[in-house]
């Protein structure tokens, strides 16, 4: 039994904005996978809810005339993963969305909620950040766009005003075309998990697939908000995929840009190890997904494996 004061089912975005404006304590609810948890935990009580769950226009995923990808904030994680436009242009976002919770959560939880919840661990947040996506907000004063990189202002805090509805996310054509990416969610288990660390690497290779023309690196839980490593990106730009230094370069530069904290969940040292290791692995995967010849891509450098990369192999 949830301590809900009132529940209003908005018929349109404008209707939702009006309802929020009318009640300054009201909260938006869509999938409910965060709001209901807070209610159950007693962190919120006697709550007025404005639902945007049934607003069809919020669920659309489309490409505009300029090739920008527009993702409705009400699209569920599984909607995103299974969408053809996403598969073609932002497959890594679909993969990241597919790591959230479990199948039931992914069928109801929305990308809008994932971002507006303000958590650094949100699986779609670091990915959207790597796309330099824009958050489209609609309020009583009209529509405004805020870059994801400027959207977060602290743990659980965003620049969204109380009476604004997040309607969509926009990925510009030049931010996705020609890129391939890889997301690694590192959790303590393989499902029903919040990331201990999330790492996304996206690369654009040269036409001959030999050089990194451009790169993106972003993390979740490497700091209080999702975080992008511009210096690390720049460090590998122009490097050859055969150059074994690409991994160390990316990882060591990234380590200068992150700011993870120690908590009972994970120590700073542990997270730093993950940041370094995951960025290397994600880079290699992103390069391979971009179509580089596996034989030409430098192997990951590990202690003791310089001369001997043999593993034990299967005993049958």
């Amino acid at each position: 039994m949830f301590d809900i004061k009132s529940f209003y089912e908005a018929t349109s975005v404008a209707d939702a904005i009006r309802a929020l404006k009318a009640d300054e304590d009201a909260e938006l609810i869509s999938g409910g996978t965060d709001v209901l948890i807070r209610l159950r935990e007693g962190k919120k009580a006697d709550l007025s809810l404005v639902s945007i769950h049934n607003i069809a226009e919020l669920k659309k995923i489309e490409k505009d005339a300029c090739g920008n990808i527009i993702i409705g904030a009400g699209a569920s994680f599984s909607d995103i993963t299974n969408n053809e436009i996403i598969k073609e242009g932002a497959n890594v976002l679909g993969e990241a969305a597919d790591t959230v919770g479990g199948p039931q959560i992914r069928n109801v939880g929305t990308i809008g909620g994932n971002i507006c919840n303000g958590a650094t661990s949100a699986d779609t947040a670091s990915t959207l950040l790597s796309f330099d996506a824009a958050v489209v907000l609609e309020g009583p004063e009209g529509v405004r766009e805020v870059a994801v990189r400027e959207f977060y202002c602290g743990p659980g805090k965003t620049v969204r005003r109380h009476d604004e509805v997040c309607t969509s996310f926009k990925i510009k054509n030049e931010e996705w075309e020609g890129f391939e990416g890889h997301y690694i969610k590192y959790g303590k288990r393989n499902a029903m998990e919040i990331a201990t660390l999330g790492c996304v690497v996206r690369v654009k290779l040269s036409a001959d697939k030999k050089y990194i023309e451009d790169a993106r690196l972003a993390f979740g839980v490497a700091g209080p908000t999702p975080l992008r490593c511009l210096k690390a990106e720049a460090a590998v730009k122009g490097m050859s995929v055969s150059d074994a230094d690409i991994y160390e370069k990316l990882a060591t530069t990234a380590l200068t840009e992150v700011n993870p904290r120690s908590s009972w969940r994970a120590s700073k040292e542990f997270r730093l190890q993950l940041i370094s290791e995951l960025s290397k692995r994600a880079l290699r995967e992103a390069i391979l997904k971009s179509g580089a010849d596996e034989d030409k891509v430098a192997p990951l450098p590990y202690k003791g494996e310089e001369n001997d990369t043999e593993s034990a192999g299967e005993v049958r």
């Binding site: 007693g42 499902a191 029903m192 009972w264 190890q273 993950l274 290791e277 034990a312 005993v315």
Partner: protein, 820 residues
């Protein structure tokens, strides 16, 4: 055997799969009131005062009771049969609500309201004034000088019990053994290792939360329907808690969604009863949340074990010593029984040439209360023995499997203290089976000298386990069988179905012994202490063994009564049977029998010539055989059991309701045993362990239902997997507040983390088991964690001493070993 050993589909399968089976919360009456508990927000101190003003104003609040209102009765909560010997009684160390706060989350007040929201709102508005003491969360702190006694009246030093046990004579000491060995073998030829191994505080994570509802019936009975493993024990403890005669209490246990030992404790039933009594006997429900369940009910004990081993350099095991400290938390619950059990198995499992020494202590701390959990101290014990065994092999270079075969407890073992025998010894056969399955020798060879960042390893662990609790505690069980007119019957067990399949195996046992088929046996799944005969409940691995004996004995009695009546029918003209619808049937049977056996007079037909098979009265096969005659079932069949049952009910000559009821006091016990073999892959830079293959091999006697047995093993293995890799309840040592008392942060493995779990059995017919069976309920939860630990050691050379072996701990260890 006809029915025992067959894969009968669970008798409750359809009800549970369709959702139609009724659990506690499904049975609530309309208009029930809802209660919530106020838990302390300090870990150590005293409640001085409450301000209830604002809370009482909340609409819908009916009553608020506090620790100042409850009966002045201290009671125990352990699901042990009450001992009539003072020295063996469980410790009475809590009241229904407690003024003296002993852990963060102690029960200090409760609200009864019209609905849960009103109760939750009122809880938030209760103001509490405390006198605070420093939390003493760890054993070390609780034993330090000047530590506040948590139970001033009972234990001034916070030590619940300390015990000392030995093998190799009462005076055996490890220190002396070292001296003697130095002389005997020479200083240079012996080794001593000294390690500290740690196990975590674990939550049972049963699916159904502890839930109960209580009301006072019109006859004055305080009636509680509860999700418990131990209805009869809840009855007596609740009476003690309320200070009322035990006959005043009635406990009803419907289907329950798991317990794993947490519900082998009296949890919130006394409070629930008290709350109903406080509102004029109206029904009140009390459901504990997951968060409360994890931190405010019971946990598995975190035990620290300092382990020493003395052995010759060529690997002969001479002596071992365990010093174990169990963190028992705020209340005694099962007291020292668990840590003592841990110590017993430590000394039993290996045949130290000189002896073994065990010192165990169970300590009160201001942290969540530890109690019973599946395998009762043995997962900890086996973590100690099996880490130690592989650490020995790591020094001697001996194959860990060979070491165990050579050094483990041997056939014919009898525990010198308890005299518990290992009647059928399958341990070495299990090791052999597991070794073959996992391809141990090939893999140990293949996994040598790995250099990569991803490595493979195989490891193993063995264990032994006592089937029941005799002679340490009472083992008693009861069963009742009631025949229906159609020859079917009700089977009423005092033992409880808690999801493990007890109802199904009892049905099979009853069918085996009575000759009435499973589909005609209606087991009454609900235990109601007003009508159900006495049994102490579901715990240990006792029910199939101990309650199974009662079931068998009762089945024999029922059979005897049926056959006596059958003989009477055949001999006498019952109620002028010629007038009844069964006249011809009985006459034909009589003639057939007379001719088959060459009997002249009716009166020569005796019960021992008869039997029940497949729901029919038949000529006994063995009786015919002894007389050189072999006949099939159809040729021996006299008449349907329904003919007899209907006659017995309504005969004007001899009406008899054929029933049987027995109590069996079990004074036997036997060791079960087994092992686990695990093949794992370690991704060192990420600290990730992937179990590629894992098998448990069990020596549990004859299986009553192999499919259910396999499922039982799967569940246990999954629990041990969590214990090994991810599960631990963490407490802030400064405040005593739990960090992760929810299922997001407390990491039980999901389906995505669980490999295919392989199961093998070595079936030996145990003479003490009712059908050759011995313990299986708990053993599966024991060996997986140490087998994985030893596989990591094989893969990387890194010995992990603390469970769970989380990624963070592994990465730290790999860095220290300069592997990454």
């Amino acid at each position: 055997m006809n029915t025992v050993g067959k894969d009968l589909i669970r008798v409750d399968a359809y009800g549970k799969v369709t959702g139609e089976a009724h659990y506690t919360a499904d049975l609530e009456p309309k208009g029930i009131l809802h209660a919530k508990v106020l838990h302390s927000e300090i870990a150590n101190g005293v409640v001085k005062n409450f301000d209830l003003t604002e809370a009482l104003k909340v609409p819908g609040v009916v009553k608020i009771v506090t620790c100042f209102d409850v009966p002045d009765c201290q009671f125990p909560t352990a699901g042990h049969p009450w001992s009539v010997e003072k020295a063996h009684q469980d410790i009475c160390d809590r009241k229904i609500l407690n003024k003296r706060v002993r852990f963060y989350g102690d029960d200090i007040a409760a609200v009864v309201a019209e609905d849960e929201v009103a109760a939750a709102r009122a809880l938030k508005l209760i103001k509490v004034e405390y006198e605070e003491y420093e939390p003493i969360v760890t054993v070390e702190k609780a034993l330090s000088e000047g530590a506040t006694p948590l139970h001033e009246d009972l234990r001034k030093d916070n030590i619940i019990v300390k015990s000392h046990m030995t093998m190799g004579g009462p005076d055996f000491s490890f220190e002396k053994a070292v001296d003697e060995a130095s002389e005997k073998y020479g200083k240079d030829n012996i080794e001593v290792i000294d390690r500290v191994y740690n196990t975590p505080r674990i939550s049972h994570c049963h699916l159904e939360l502890p839930v109960s509802w209580a009301y006072v019936d019109t006859n004055g009975k305080i009636t509680i329907t509860s999700s418990t493993q131990i209805p009869h024990i809840v009855k007596s403890c609740t009476a003690m808690a309320l200070g009322v005669p035990v006959g005043k209490i009635r406990i009803i246990k419907p289907y329950i969604g798991g317990g794993f030992g947490n519900k082998q404790d009296v949890l919130y039933e006394p409070l629930n009863a008290f709350l109903s009594m406080q509102v004029g006997g109206r029904p009140v429900r009390l459901e504990i949340s997951r968060e409360e369940t994890i931190s405010c009910t019971r946990t598995r004990h975190a035990i620290e074990g300092r382990c020493r081993a003395l052995f010759t350099k060529d690997g002969k095991l001479l002596a071992r010593k365990l010093e174990a400290y169990a963190n028992n938390g705020a209340y005694a619950s099962h007291g020292h029984a668990i840590c003592a059990n841990c110590g017993t198995v430590f000394k039993d499992l290996y045949a130290d040439e000189m002896g073994a020494e065990v010192d165990c202590a169970t300590v009160y701390t201001s942290s969540p209360t530890a109690g019973a959990m599946r395998a009762y101290g043995i997962p900890q014990s086996i973590w100690f023995t099996e880490c130690l065994a592989d650490d020995i092999c790591n020094i001697t270079g001996e194959d860990p499997c060979d070491f165990r075969v050579r050094s483990c407890m041997q056939e014919g073992f009898v525990d010198p203290g308890t005299k518990i025998p290992f009647l059928t010894y399958g341990l070495k056969k299990c090791i052999e089976e597991g070794r073959k399955y996992i391809k141990w020798d090939e893999k140990r060879a293949a996994y040598k000298n790995q250099k990569g960042h991803i490595r493979r390893g195989v490891g193993m662990a063995i264990f032994c386990y006592k089937t029941g609790v005799h002679p340490i505690s009472l083992e008693t069980a009861s069963c009742r069988m009631v025949l229906n007119q159609d020859g079917s019957m009700q089977l009423v067990m005092g033992a409880t179905e808690i999801g493990q399949g007890a109802d199904t195996v009892f049905t099979q046992m009853a069918a085996e012994t009575t000759g009435i088929s499973c589909d005609k046996i209606y087991i009454v799944s609900t235990q109601d202490t007003d009508v159900t005969p006495f049994d102490t409940g579901a715990y240990a691995s006792r029910q199939t063994y101990v309650s199974g004996k009662a079931c068998k004995k009762c089945g024999e009695l029922l059979r005897e009564r049926i056959l006596e009546y059958a003989a009477y029918m055949l001999v006498n003209e019952i109620s002028d049977i010629s007038k009844t619808v069964y006249a011809e049937t009985v006459k034909a049977a009589k003639d057939m029998m007379k001719s088959a056996l060459g009997i002249a007079e009716d009166s020569d037909i005796k019960p021992e010539m008869l039997d029940i098979e497949n729901n029919a009265i038949v000529m006994r096969e063995s009786y015919l055989k002894e007389r050189g005659s072999e006949k099939g079932f159809e040729e021996r069949k006299l008449f349907e059991l329904s003919v007899l049952a209907d006659t017995a009910f309504y005969s004007l000559d001899r009406s008899q309701h054929i029933t049987a009821e027995v109590t069996n006091h079990c004074k036997e016990n036997t060791f079960a045993s087994g092992c686990c073999f695990a093949d794992i892959e370690v991704d060192m830079p990420l600290g990730k362990v992937t179990v590629k293959d894992v098998v448990n091999v069990h020596d549990s006697g004859i299986l009553i239902n192999p499919k259910l047995a396999e499922a039982q093993v799967h569940g246990g293995m999954s629990m041990s997997l969590g214990f090994g890799l991810s599960e631990e309840l963490l407490i802030d040592e400064k405040t005593g507040k739990p960090y992760n008392n929810n299922l997001l942060d407390y990491k039980i493995p999901t389906a995505m983390d669980t490999p295919d779990l392989k199961v093998r059995f070595v079936q030996l017919d145990d003479p003490s088991g009712p059908y050759g069976n011995k313990a299986l309920g708990e053993p599966p939860a024991i060996p997986v964690a140490p087998a994985i630990r030893n596989a990591i050691l094989n893969a990387t050379g890194v010995a992990m001493n603390e469970a769970p072996m989380t990624s963070e701990r592994l990465i730290k260890a790999f860095k220290e070993a300069e592997l990454i």
